[in-house]
């Protein structure tokens, strides 16, 4: 029972990290990235091949690198590589395309990436994937669960803190204004693409870290772990939870991804077997459409974050003015 709960919570934390990262890209800035899970996968793969060495997989298998760096270095490198790739993709696509075309391009890119990894074995061992990825620390299974829980919860807390910091900063304000109305933002002297690039990279970094955590937890990774569908589920979780609000991101991840997965355990399976996941997806689809229609802000809308404390007592405008004019 304890193990079951721990497992649930670890996965919940890791999924939450992903949705928090996606929130930065889509919730704050309005960048629709249908290939988000690809960056998770990159983080996972890179973390794996930089830490598992050459001899981990008994039956051989081909993959690049094969270093044996400590886990935290591998994790970090995974995040960084994901961020760099994100920057490249951003440079090519996000700058130029409106959101629905961007969606098509990013999904197509995600599929191509998946196809290449699945087919070209020397990269990450193709369809078989990688396994026997080393644990962070050698210990019993239950204790490993606790350690991973502590680690992922801690990292989640850091990223939530970061989200909050960004939200309350001029940078966050700028991102949201670009999301709402780029023309107005430009009319007050701000170029869009640099802040967007930054937040895109940060979001991809977070995805990569989540991927790394994931792979150290389940110690294996293969193309079947990152079907392009997964990005949609993350997006649905974000929208249902409340895009733009990092608490909404958490809620969406836990409720939609975890909660539904666990709930469906208690349903009788009817008909043809593979249904648990299918029913879950149907529910997600319905909830998504209903949410978009009737409560676009999600369960925890962004505007609930707007409490900064009472505004300071206004100063006489004339004095303000003169001071400002002199400063100019």
């Amino acid at each position: 029972m304890v193990y079951y709960l721990t497992d649930l919570l670890v996965l919940g934390c890791i999924n939450s990290i992903m949705v928090v990262g996606l929130n930065l890209q889509y919730g704050y800035t309005g960048l629709l990235n249908f290939a988000y899970y690809t960056y998770v996968a990159i983080g996972a793969y890179v973390a794996a091949v930089t830490t598992m060495g050459r001899t981990a997989m008994a039956g051989g298998g081909t993959y690049i690198l094969g270093w044996t760096l400590p886990w935290y270095v591998g994790l970090l490198i995974g995040g960084v590589v994901a961020a760099i790739l994100g920057a490249v993709v951003f440079g090519f696509t996000v700058r130029r395309l409106r959101s629905d075309y961007l969606a098509i391009v990013t999904v197509s890119a995600a599929f191509i990436f998946w196809n290449i990894i699945n087919t070209y074995e020397p990269l990450f061992n193709g369809a078989t994937g990688l396994y026997h990825v080393p644990n962070i620390i050698s210990t019993s299974t239950t204790r490993y669960g606790f350690i991973m829980l502590a680690l992922s919860a801690g990292i989640l807390a850091i990223f939530v803190w970061g989200s909050r910091r960004i939200f309350r900063s001029p940078f966050g304000r700028l991102l949201r204004s670009m999301r709402e109305d780029e023309a107005v933002t430009a009319a007050f002297g701000r170029t869009s693409w640099q802040p967007q690039l930054w937040i895109f990279m940060i979001g991809c970094f977070i995805a990569g870290i989540a991927g790394g955590l994931f792979v150290f937890y389940i110690t294996a990774w293969s193309p079947y772990a990152f079907l392009p569908l997964e990005s949609f589920i993350l997006l649905a979780a974000l929208i249902v939870g409340g895009a733009g609000n990092y608490w909404g991101a958490l809620l969406g991840a836990f409720v939609l991804i975890e909660g539904l997965a666990e709930l469906s355990r208690f349903l009788p399976s009817f008909g043809n077997g593979a249904d648990v996941g299918a029913i879950r997806a149907i529910v997600i689809g319905f909830v998504l459409i209903l949410m978009l229609r009737y409560r676009r802000g999600g369960l925890i809308p962004e505007r609930w974050l707007h409490w900064y404390g009472p505004p300071a007592k206004p100063v006489l405008p004339r004095a303000r003015f003169a001071a400002a004019r002199r400063a100019r």
Binding site: T93, S99, A281, I289
Partner: protein, 291 residues
Amino acid sequence: MSQFLVAVGFGLATASVVALAAVAVSLQVSVTNFINFAYGDFMTFGAYIAWSATRHGINLVPAIILGGIATGLLGVLANILVFRPFMRQGVRPVTLLIAGVGLSFIVQNALTVIWGAEPVRFNVTLGNSLHVGPFLLTPGDLVMFGTSVTLLVLLHVMLAYTKFGKALRATSNNSDLAKACGIDSERVVSITWFLAGLLTAVAGVGLVLQESTLDPTTGFTELFVIFGAVILGGIGRPYGAMLGALAIGLLTEISGAYLNAAYKTSIAFGVVIVLLLFRPQGLFATKGKIS
């Protein structure tokens, strides 16, 4: 050389299937101005209905018709229940896209629940491949090709010569102006969804006959190839979509013949990406409707 021609033959066969679906998408986009992500799953739906019908003893052709009608109705339903309320609300295109994604979840997984995730086959034996000139085609390919051409010709006749066709072209060009001229644009939209669904179903069956197995994800994976054709021809331009389908079909098959066949779909997707980045108005851009 003969390998090349054989690939060309495959390309034509693929193109005939893609063309139907691409034209369907183009028609719908031209009157509603957004892209429905659930079309792939409409294709799968139509194919499943037809397959189900054949398992109950109905012949192939009536089964396809049944599948077409069912999918047409599905399209109309989707419009009424999902898309139209959003459009009346005046939402951003992104929201419609995501709604389409939600719909795709529902349809695809409903199919899984009803018919299972295991691949199935059409219980139709169509004989072995024949040599038709320099091409190597199955009778299934030929039938599909013929059906496709027939349907497209019928479509062209409808668009060019019937009253509805004119109403459709008017609505796609400028829906407010069309309304002002007394055209009931909502009815036009509904009928367009029906037609699009119908064509998509036939394409779905054609796809299954080519790929020979059907499972809930069949249509979805084909979706981006279809988008490629639509974009190549210019979004919202049905005639362009036909040419786009031809181009994509030939491109994927020919390159698939010389490179690893597993990368075939990736090539199609790559084309989509390059196009959207550098020439989103398609290859045949003139002054026309661009979404």
